[in-house]
Symmetry: C2
Subunit: 116 residues, 2 copies
């Protein structure tokens, strides 16, 4: 359902989707290309097709904690709060997926914290 | 349902629930007292009544990424994989709660990464 979404946004390599500190109203599903997440100018992660990013704004309504930028031409589907809750309630697998993404990010940050 | 659980474990201040690197089969709900999560000997967070910890082992089946220790006498309810999935599927609010916990941890780690 999300993959054919008419609301999908086309991006050109180099486009910034959001910046650290921005208010955030959408998570995004990557349906084409690659998106880089960075923190204070340092790359944290590359999100590719099928991946989700920006979900934290929907969970805790805080400003963006990272910057998201297309590193190739790309296409993303915005997921607003209403759809996010719908997906959580109706597709438990989606909840587990989002948690997986967050767990991976946490483990990466933990490893980083230990290495400094 | 979880708060009256017969499987609740009583802990004495100073008890270690799990250590970084351990295999993990349970998340835990705190129903009394306080649990400290630490990484490489440094305190990351205190989880108090109503809080959840250890959820990452259920999500991605990796070893424990932190050490959990009771800092007061405490009581925790273990949540195994089966119950975790049951809660996710039947109480969407639980999914949002777990994501909240993870989002808070991620933001804290992000702030840490920026400060070093």
């Amino acid at each position: 359902m999300l993959r054919d979404d008419p609301a999908a946004k086309s991006l050109v390599a180099g486009d910034t989707i959001f910046s650290e500190g921005d208010p955030g109203e959408f998570a995004f599903l990557v349906i084409d290309g690659e998106i880089e997440l960075s923190l204070a100018g340092e790359a944290l992660e590359t999100v590719s097709v099928g991946g989700i990013f920006g979900e934290m704004a929907l969970i805790d309504h805080s400003p963006r904690s990272a910057t998201a930028r297309a590193t190739t031409d790309a296409k993303v589907v915005p997921i607003d709060q209403k759809r996010f809750l719908y997906l959580l309630q109706n597709t438990p697998f989606f909840a587990v997926e989002v948690m997986h993404v967050m767990a991976n990010r946490l483990r990466r940050m933990d490893a980083r914290a230990k290495s400094v």
